[in-house]
């Protein structure tokens, strides 16, 4: 297979497809189907890269990257167009394509106005996110990093509900503040490296060996960390997330939780730690502390929520705390656990948001107190709900457990106390999860709501996610194997 432009087509296929949609302004149905077809094609393309793992990368590819594209772009500034795929990117790209398809499917009926635009934005978003996961040039990375904000902003703003404008703007500003400082840091890094080596470049591979004075390294890393921590989100920079999630349309929530949050973690793994190893080590205790605080704090707050989406949003913050912990300690097991946890969180939370969205779509309320006794009314829905809720609470045998457990195993050596606290944090999700299940699924119906059980479309989406959850929960070995090499390269572990 000729893989020379595979990555480029991965990145730009959705965008090109989006442009195609532009010419279908009026014919919403056609646009919808076209968009779905493009997303499916993209997913197929992403999955096909699975089989490229054995491919011999082009010359100049850093170790671990089996697909690699490097072209000059803005030569005057030493900016190159570098895309590369290693195990980490591979999994995340596949996740991105899958979640996009799911986002399209779950909003199939609920979006009634500006349908074409909605799907166009979803596709554009996909391009941006995949770009983030693949770029190995910091300038290119930053470009995609910012690019993915805009579609999300519109998604929340146009199709959201409640205080959607407030939330959209808050989301945009919050993330932008972080990333603008990162831009400065990127520039500084570029200049420092250029001054040292005489070769000005934004390529990650070139920048890796840059030396800093401790203070400089610390400041630069802090800027990177800030950008990623906002996306993560790490407490106390998380307050945009509950708002954004609550007010976003279902597809928006799905993508936000499933993908956007992952970019922060990914950035930290791909750029933050490798570029500034010493600074990262200095700030590790801080990151660990914040991660554990986040796990407990967010899970605790989630218990008090009255709005289902808000609850899931806070739970997201808590779960991403595990990812943060895994990254912070930077041991092979913890890091691969964190990566797997990203994937798991992507699948599980996506499902939960989809489920909440389905309820909202039917009954037009997200207040927990309006529901009750769903098991009697919509058993199929309830089965899936319990399954994903349990996955999210970390029931062994389902996917989240694997990630969390590996993170905790890996981090125990590095941070005893934090891990013990995190273990306490493991129980808190259960507390709010069983509360949610009880109030929603169990008990008696509290209000007569027009509820109907899952349609075939919804069921196939959920069944797919459920299979993924169980598969990863029971047989994570293939995924862990893929992660092994890149993680070993990053952490210096022995695969």
């Amino acid at each position: 297979m000729n893989t020379s432009l595979l990555l480029t087509s991965l990145v730009f296929l959705p965008l090109a497809g989006g442009f195609l949609l532009l010419f279908m302004g009026g014919r919403a149905q056609t646009a919808k189907i076209t968009a779905l077809a493009i997303a499916l094609l993209e997913a197929a393309l992403a999955c096909s890269t699975w089989f490229c793992q054995g491919a011999i990368p082009s010359a100049g590819a850093p170790a671990g990257f089996f697909l690699y594209e490097d072209f000059p772009w803005i030569e005057q500034l030493g900016i190159r167009y570098i895309l590369g795929m290693d195990g980490i990117s591979l999994l995340l790209v596949i996740l991105a394509t899958v979640v996009t398809v799911i986002a399209m499917l779950v909003s199939w009926r609920s979006i009634t106005e500006k349908i074409t635009l909605h799907y166009l934005l979803l596709l554009a978003m996909e391009s941006g996110i995949i770009g983030v996961f693949l770029s190995l040039d910091l300038f290119l990375f930053y470009l995609f990093w910012e690019l993915m904000l805009i579609p999300m902003f519109f998604l929340i703003g146009i199709w959201g509900h409640g205080r959607n404008i407030y939330s959209a703007v808050k989301f945009f500003l919050y993330t932008l503040v972080g990333s603008l400082l990162m831009l400065l840091a990127i520039i500084a890094l570029y200049l420092i490296h250029g001054a040292q080596s005489g070769m000005y470049s934004f390529s990650l591979a070139a920048l890796l060996g840059t030396h800093f004075s401790p203070a400089t390294g610390l400041w630069l890393y802090a800027a990177f960390l800030l950008a990623f921590a906002v996306k993560f989100p790490i407490v106390p920079l998380h307050t945009w997330l509950p708002d954004a999630h609550t007010d976003a349309p279902t597809a928006g929530s799905v993508i936000l939780a499933g993908l956007l949050l992952k970019t922060g973690a990914y950035g930290l793994i791909r750029f933050g730690y490798p570029l500034f190893p010493e600074a990262a080590r200095t700030l590790t205790p801080l990151l660990i502390g914040l991660a554990v605080t986040g796990i407990i704090y967010a899970s605790w707050i989630a218990f008090a929520q009255k709005d289902m989406k808000r609850l899931v949003a806070y739970s997201s913050v808590g779960h991403m705390g595990f990812v943060a912990l895994g990254i912070a300690v930077w041991t092979p097991v913890a890091l691969s656990g964190a990566l797997l946890q990203m994937l798991n969180h992507g699948l599980t939370t996506t499902a939960l948001f989809a489920l909440v969205g389905m309820l909202d779509e039917r009954a037009h309320t997200r207040q927990i107190e309006d529901y009750g006794g769903l098991w009697g009314k919509i058993p199929l829905f309830s089965v899936f709900f319990v399954l994903f809720a349990m996955a999210s609470a970390g029931l062994p045998g389902l996917n989240n457990f694997v990630g969390e457990f590996l993170v905790l195993t890996g981090s125990f050596k590095a941070a005893h106390l934090a891990t013990i606290l995190a273990f306490i944090g493991v129980i808190l999700p259960l507390v709010y999860t069983v509360r949610l299940i009880q109030e929603l699924i169990f008990q008696k119906e509290r209000r007569t709501l027009p509820l109907s059980d899952l349609t075939l479309r919804e069921m196939s989406v959920l069944a797919f996610l459920a299979l993924c959850d169980i598969y990863i929960g029971m047989h994570p070995a293939p995924l862990l194997d893929i992660l092994k090499q890149p993680v070993a390269l990053l952490t210096g572990g022995v695969p």
Binding site: W73, I74, E75, Q76, L77, K114, Y142, L143, E146, L147, L149, I150, F153, F154, G157, I158, N164, I165, A168, V169, F172, L173, L176, V177, L180, L181, L183, L184, I187, A188, Y190, L191
Partner: protein
Amino acid sequence: MTATDLFIALPIILLAVGALVTLLVGAITRTTNIGIVIALAATLGAAFWLMQSPPTLPAPTLGLSAGGLSRLFGVFFCLLAAGVLCLSVAYNRERGISGEEYPSVLLFTTFGMLALASATNLLTLFLGLEAMSFGFYILVAIDLQRGVSGETGLKYLLPGALSTAFLAFGIALLYTVSGTLSLHELMQFTLTSGTPDPIALAGWGCLLAGLAFKLSLAPAHLWTPDVYQGAPAPVVAFLSGGSKAATILFLLLLLPQAVDVSALRIPLCALSLFSMMIGNCAALRQNHVRRLMAYSSIAQMGYVVLALLSGKSGGYQAAAFYAIAYGTISLAAFGAITVIERNGGGETLDDYRGVGSRQPFAAGVLALSLFALAGIPPTAGFTGKFLIFSAAIRSGEITLAVTGILLTAVSVYYYLRVVVALYFNHADNTEDTQPRSIPTAPEYAVLIAAATTILILGLWPGKLIELLSRA
């Protein structure tokens, strides 16, 4: 006057002649658009001439040259003028601005800009700047049917005249110190290494104060929102894009020649900081779109000053790039505003509600230019900011750079407010009452061209950067 002189001066002459011809033709026939057509021909002709002509030595007798920078900016000014002319056709028709004086004055203004761009001595430079300002004094007040036009004119003219006085006095002082008006020598004498002559510094102070007005730098910025609000939209596009770029060019022709500009660092810092802060903060709650854009332009000029401040480490290229980028974005933004405001559409954010669905094209271009102003990639605005901050960091202006970038983040808020108004807020029942105004073909052309340029400068800025670093 030698052939070389003529060669260099031809575009300028073309514009001047064009202006006169337009006036004459206007006097002869009353055909509506003939003036605009002639003006368009003149600008495009000049642009074409500048583009195809090879670089030459400075003109021996005239104070003119056709170096890389001047040709680049010359082309830019001409194209900008052409764009504004295209935008004006429909706008003027609907606002009742008729007559030949509009295209004629516009050409004259362009003439001033072009003269400024190719100046080699301060006299030409000054005259070019003044010629341009003259044009704008007239242009901003040309819509006499509008009640506020007179006030707009007054608010531009009086500070403008004052700034001219400052400029003239500053130049006079510099001349007194150096004894020459030639740019290069003057700069060598007035901004030497070590402690420069106090009189020269006083001259620079006056000069900068005068230019601060033209660039609408705080605290000489107060006219900006009022004039942006009162003037016809295409004129604002020209004012915002052209006059600012010309003023930046004025500084770009001077400062790089200096031996050491560190004496001016603190004043420039202050101007930059105040402008960024006041511009960005004052726009936050602004409900009038044009005023908002005015404050935004104040802030943007603050960034340019930041670039000029760190000139030697790439700041001059950054400033030049940003001037062009900002000009293009202004053209796109005010072009879109022109289209939106035609047919008596409102000017406040409330009036902009639902425009995204009523006028998707104009709203799209406006949104794009707003994102560009906010510095979101992949737009010209991002590349410009990137270059500016690179230069700032390279020259060690870390504090200012961090402040600037944080203020950029603040600025995003008000740009988003416009986007929010365009797309998120649904107008209440205005869907049916307001007519759908469809952009005319020239407007389409200009907006598409500007938007494309914004994106191209965002994605492939290499060519322009190369041109600038060679100039």
